[in-house]
């Protein structure tokens, strides 16, 4: 399927590639021109010679990529690349995340990157909502591509988190919430009731918060973990840290804390049990099964290519719906920062 010569996006050893436009999308090896959909480590890798990305996400991307020449685009703004019209559109996944729309000789392809959509009319409050784009071929993620994954409205999950935090605070028990440092952490910060108690963040979350604040995101006030000296300061606090940091020796002050994890994977009991958390809150930045179907339907595409997560299931299901479907083998989701992998840890 990927070898089709007329295809606007194909799979190459270094990543997804647009042959007429001569650029890559989220390549996993260093290339000349890369279009980056968002700042998660599995999508934004360092070493490219030129990067095109959403202008607003530049501070966050810089934190990962360093001083690479970067061209920022507004959502919907069009650039010509070797005769191909390229534009970036909101994906609703994390701050500054984009779908890549590629148009060449009347044909339109869209690479979704990671996106968030569910059957409820709601969006991730830290970024612009997913924008459905009409296209001939839709290259989609499918991290949660099983009907088991159906998100409850996010206000319900946030209410659960607030209730959990409030209960813990009443009993002077720190509330330790594991969440990936970019994306989920900010979504939680924006969503929780900051009047319950102080919010403490791990240094990796703090770094990402600084970048997000620099880019204009409004987040409640937080304390840095490094400023904490005694257990007493934590007794009513919500501590947000990436999952891997929980094994850190400096976390010994959190003995007796209630530990929770916010991720789409928490939908299933065995994922909750696997990590040994006291609580699992189902909150994802990825589309659930109804969201994936809704997004695919909205594109009107006759052809769909699945990049990562339950590809075989998704492809078989799409074919049963009468669509032309295939896969690209990508390493997306194998990396640490999105909630793509239930057992992956943040660096």
């Amino acid at each position: 399927m990927a070898s089709d010569t007329d295809d606007l996006i194909v799979e190459r050893p270094e990543g997804l590639y647009c042959p007429p436009g001569r650029f890559h999308i989220d390549p996993w090896r260093a290339v000349d021109r890369a279009v980056i959909t968002h700042a998660h480590a599995d999508h934004a890798r360092a070493g490219h010679r030129h990067v095109l990305a959403v202008a607003a996400s530049e501070p966050v991307l810089r934190a990962r990529l360093g001083s690479v020449p970067m061209q920022g685009l507004g959502y919907g703004e069009v650039v010509q690349m070797n005769g191909v019209r390229v534009s970036l559109h909101p994906a609703g996944h994390v701050f500054g995340s984009a779908q890549v729309r590629v148009e060449h000789r009347g044909r339109v392809w869209v690479a979704s990157g990671d996106y968030y959509l569910s059957e409820h009319d709601e969006s991730n409050p830290t970024c612009a909502a997913f924008e459905p784009l009409r296209c001939d071929c839709f290259v989609t993620e499918s991290t949660f591509g099983l009907p088991l994954y159906r998100w409850r409205p996010q206000h319900e999950t946030l209410a659960q988190i607030n209730a959990w935090w409030r209960d813990n605070a009443r009993e002077c028990r720190p509330s330790l919430l594991a969440a990936y440092s970019f994306g989920k952490a900010q979504r939680l910060l924006a969503g929780v009731d900051a009047s319950i108690g102080p919010i403490v963040v791990h240094r990796s979350v703090d770094a990402m918060n600084a970048a997000c604040r620099a880019a204009g995101m409004r987040l409640p006030a937080t304390l840095a973990w490094s400023a904490i000296e005694s257990r007493a300061q934590l007794s009513e606090a919500l501590v947000i840290a990436p999952p891997m940091a929980l094994a850190d020796a400096s976390m010994h002050l959190l003995g007796g804390a209630s530990r929770a994890f916010a991720s789409g994977w928490m939908q299933l009991r065995h994922h909750r049990r696997q990590r040994g958390f006291d609580r699992g809150f189902v909150l994802s930045d990825h589309a659930d099964w109804p969201g994936l179907q809704r997004a695919i339907r909205a594109t009107g595409a006759r052809r769909v290519i699945v990049t990562h997560g339950h590809e075989a299931v998704m492809v078989r299901w799409l074919r049963e719906q009468g669509l032309q479907a295939g896969t690209f083998a990508t390493p997306f989701g194998a990396a640490p920062d999105g909630d793509a992998d239930p057992v992956a840890d943040s660096p």
């Binding site: 088991l148 159906r150 005694s230 007493a232 002050l253 003995g255 065995h270």
Partner: protein, 539 residues
């Protein structure tokens, strides 16, 4: 139903006994009595039986969820649980209904066996449409007979006793009747179980308050310190197991432990033998294996013997028709009226843990009339070999150290150096080169607010520095830090690499003055085994 679903969720999340009991108490305080009755029955392990078979229910769920069978099976494989799969796959509930648990079970679920299979499945799925995913999961589990209580009986009893404000021993007495599977749980039966006033018969079934047992370390005692001299005392072996009172009445027999547990179910043999005792007999003894070793007689034929001297009580006990597995504890003579301490060494054998001293002329419960003479603790020097942070059952984070001794102590410094070299390079270790795991030691976390304790000793720093390899959470450490441990007993154990199981291990002190050559070896540990055992089948 929603309330019970919430309780299940809370029990599943709870990570301490206190949280579990709180969850149960909150539920009992808020639930209507009929619901509480069913909830207590379910939590006590009563199932509804298998009301539906899984396969037809899955078939119906596939149709209701409008997915293909292969997709359902893929989901089932991903979640590993039928109830969870069905709960998530069915379309979201169209209307929420908050019927009571009792009406769900009595009016709906228990009517399922009367329906044909297709009707039953259809009803089951209609009911799922009234519940959120957590409620559905619970419902499907109940219907398939796969529901399991997430709380053990002792916690449930504690919560019930606290809720109703009654003595837990009274509750334990009434429990067998409540759990009778032939009787349906309802509010009036639960109220009867929880009524605060005991009947006269219930009062008579209780044990007498246990006499205080004084524990004395052998080193702290000599015959001179025994009031009235050694001759005033009677000596028996003590196994260190739980103390029991066997109460035999006309209505039945009850076996109580000193902590207020009722052991009737666990000790059926003793209960059967109790039938041979005269009515209104109360014996006290110790559980040894599955038998009762009697050390005292408190009541006989409704005659209260507790204010009689011990020798008189035991004289009467000797006349009792005791049948296996109830037996009188043998008496050990103190030769020449000397101290009982030398006896400790003589009666060391597997399972025996010191001596029980009873004053001959004392009434039951008299002060300083009942003593448990502990054997001196054993000691060993061991090397710290592994370290790991563990979350204990109380939620506290503790440091768990794995201690090791030599399989065979190296002969000289050269041998030691060779052994250390092999350990460092990961070479195959021969005899005399291995430190075999002996015991685990949990250290308390530093007090809240000051992490200085452990750090001051440099233990955490040393662990970081001495880590040779990590296996998940476990660090394998370069041997170097030695400690002296104290333990109560050791038994042979084929499951352990060292060949021993240690009980009551505690840290005596760190031994920075020792070298690895001073660490004990397996042979020395074997010498500590009780004599009878080491001649037996040692692995």
């Amino acid at each position: 139903m929603m309330r019970f679903t919430a309780l299940s969720a809370r029990l599943e999340c709870a990570n301490s006994e206190v949280q579990r009991i709180d969850a149960l108490r909150d539920y009992l305080a808020g639930a209507p009595p009929g619901d509480a009755a069913w909830a207590v029955a379910l939590l006590a392990g009563r199932g509804l039986g298998r009301l539906l078979r899984a396969e037809p229910l899955c078939e119906s769920a596939v149709r209701a969820a409008r997915v293909e069978r292969w997709l359902f099976d893929t989901c089932l494989e991903a979640s590993g649980d039928i109830a969870e799969t069905i709960a998530h796959l069915l379309p979201p509930a169209r209307r929420a209904e908050s019927n009571s648990l009792a009406s769900w079970i009595d009016d709906r679920l228990l009517s399922l066996p009367e329906c044909s299979v297709p009707t039953a499945c259809e009803r089951a799925l209609q009911w799922c449409d009234l519940l959120d995913p957590a409620g559905r999961e619970l419902l499907v589990r109940l219907m398939l007979g796969r529901w399991r209580a997430m709380v053990d009986e002792s916690l449930l009893l504690q919560a019930l006793a606290q809720h109703a404000g009654i003595d837990i021993r009274l509750l334990r007495l009434r429990w067998p009747e409540w759990t009778n599977p032939r009787l349906r749980p309802d509010a009036s039966r639960l109220a009867a179980v929880l009524r605060p006033q005991p009947t006269p018969a219930e009062e008579r079934a209780q044990a007498y308050p246990f006499a205080a047992l004084q524990t004395v370390a052998a080193s702290a005692t000599s015959s001179a310190e025994l009031e009235g001299g050694a001759a005033a005392w009677l000596v028996r072996t003590r196994h260190g197991n739980c103390r029991l009172q066997l109460v035999r009445r006309a209505e039945g027999a009850w076996l109580w432990s000193s902590s207020g547990e009722l052991l009737n179910r666990r000790c059926a043999d003793i209960l059967a033998a109790a039938a041979e005792l005269p009515v209104d007999t109360v014996l006290e003894g110790e559980l040894v294996g599955t038998g009762l070793v009697v050390v005292d007689l408190l009541e006989l034929g409704s005659l209260n013997l507790r204010d009689r001297p011990y020798v008189e009580r035991m004289a009467r006990a000797c006349d009792l028709p005791l049948v296996h597995p109830i037996a009188l504890a043998p008496e050990i003579g103190i030769e020449g009226g000397t101290s009982p301490v030398p006896l400790l060494a003589r009666c060391r054998s597997r399972g025996v843990h010191g001596l029980l001293l009873l004053r001959r002329d004392a009434h039951y419960g008299a002060a300083q009339a009942l003593m448990h003479l502990l054997p001196p603790p054993m000691r060993a020097i061991a090397a710290v070999r592994t370290a790991q942070s563990v979350v204990d059952s109380d939620g506290a984070v503790r440091l768990e150290l794995g201690l090791a001794v030599w399989d065979q102590r190296p002969h000289d410094e050269a041998g030691l150096a060779a052994a250390l070299r092999s350990m460092a390079t990961g070479a195959r270790l021969g005899v005399g080169q291995q430190l075999v795991p002996l015991a685990k030691l949990r250290l308390d976390p530093p007090a809240p607010g000051d992490a200085a304790d452990l750090h001051a000793d440099g233990l955490l720093g040393w662990i970081q520095e001495a880590t040779m390899q990590r296996f998940g959470p476990v660090r394998l450490l370069r041997p170097g830090r030695l400690c002296e441990i104290e333990f109560d007993d050791l038994e042979p154990s084929a499951r352990r690499k060292s060949g021993f199981r240690l009980t009551g291990v505690r840290l005596q002190r760190w031994r920075s003055d020792c070298s690895l050559m001073d660490v004990d070896d397996v042979q020395r540990m074997r010498g500590l085994l009780a004599p009878e055992v080491s001649t037996g089948a040692t692995p």
